[in-house]
């Protein structure tokens, strides 16, 4: 059993990054491995956008990640600095900046790069899904 830490750098739709990473994560858990954390960085933070409406016939990537994370106890961490710069705010950040109620999909958590460093230290394997 191998423990993985995954980094996702691409925005959904603009790149395949998040979709490849999701398929990888699904395959890994089906094979009995563990995904301890997925860290969304650069434009990957857009994967956590609860307001994104997918094209007709497609499911929201945010919802699909959230569902997998809940079923498999995976931490979905969104880099707070990258997110806030791109207008992705949780309720605390939205309140702090007086920008409504926030738009982060439930199941994702905003946090710092320290969470990624920690994941690299604890996981057996680190895989980046580039944009």
């Amino acid at each position: 059993m191998t423990t993985f830490a995954l980094m996702v750098l691409g925005a959904p739709l603009s790149t395949q990054s998040a979709h490849t990473a999701l398929a990888f994560a699904q395959a890994a858990v089906s094979a009995g491995h563990r995904i301890m954390r997925v860290f969304f960085y650069h434009d990957g933070v857009y994967c956590a956008n609860a307001l994104a409406i997918p094209p007709t016939g497609e499911t929201s990537i945010a919802a699909r990640w959230s569902e997998l994370a809940q079923a498999q106890q995976i931490d979905l961490v969104v880099c707070v600095a990258s997110a806030v710069k791109r207008g992705l705010l949780d309720s605390d950040e939205a309140k702090r900046h007086q920008k409504g109620t926030g738009n982060i999909q439930p199941g994702f958590e905003l946090s710092g790069l320290g969470q990624w460093v920690e994941a690299c230290l604890l996981a057996d394997r680190v895989v980046t899904f580039g944009a």
Partner: protein, 120 residues
């Protein structure tokens, strides 16, 4: 505490994309966790170190100035691809920080000798 050696590989030029800044933020985060960090500049990444840049001309902070803070965080091992420098008409005297200029075989060895290799 667990320690792993990190190699941050920078392949993108500054300003045109945000990867240069994001690579630096990851390097600093690793250093803040007291992990040994080295940085490798390949391809257009070597342009990040150019001393001649002036980000203010496009309303941005100068990336070279931000990189020059690396030694304050004990990140002093910087590698640069010799061929990339030459192709972009730079040499080590044009750069803001002291670097080790490496040939391809030496760069290849770096990938094997670091525990975690992250690319931006």
């Amino acid at each position: 505490m667990i320690k792993k050696s990190f190699l941050i590989v920078c392949r993108r030029a500054p300003y045109g994309e945000s990867y240069a800044r994001e690579a630096l933020d990851v390097a600093l985060a690793c250093a803040a966790f007291d992990q040994p960090v080295a940085m490798l500049f390949l391809g257009d990444g070597v342009l990040q170190l150019s001393a001649a840049q002036h980000g203010a001309a496009i309303g941005q902070k100068s990336h070279a100035t931000q990189l020059s803070a690396l030694p304050l965080y004990d990140i002093e091992t910087l590698y640069v691809d010799a061929q990339a420098l030459q192709a972009r008409q730079l040499d080590s005297t044009d750069l803001v920080l002291p670097v080790q200029v490496l040939a391809a075989a030496e760069i290849s060895a770096l990938f094997a000798t670091h525990d975690i290799v992250l690319g931006f």
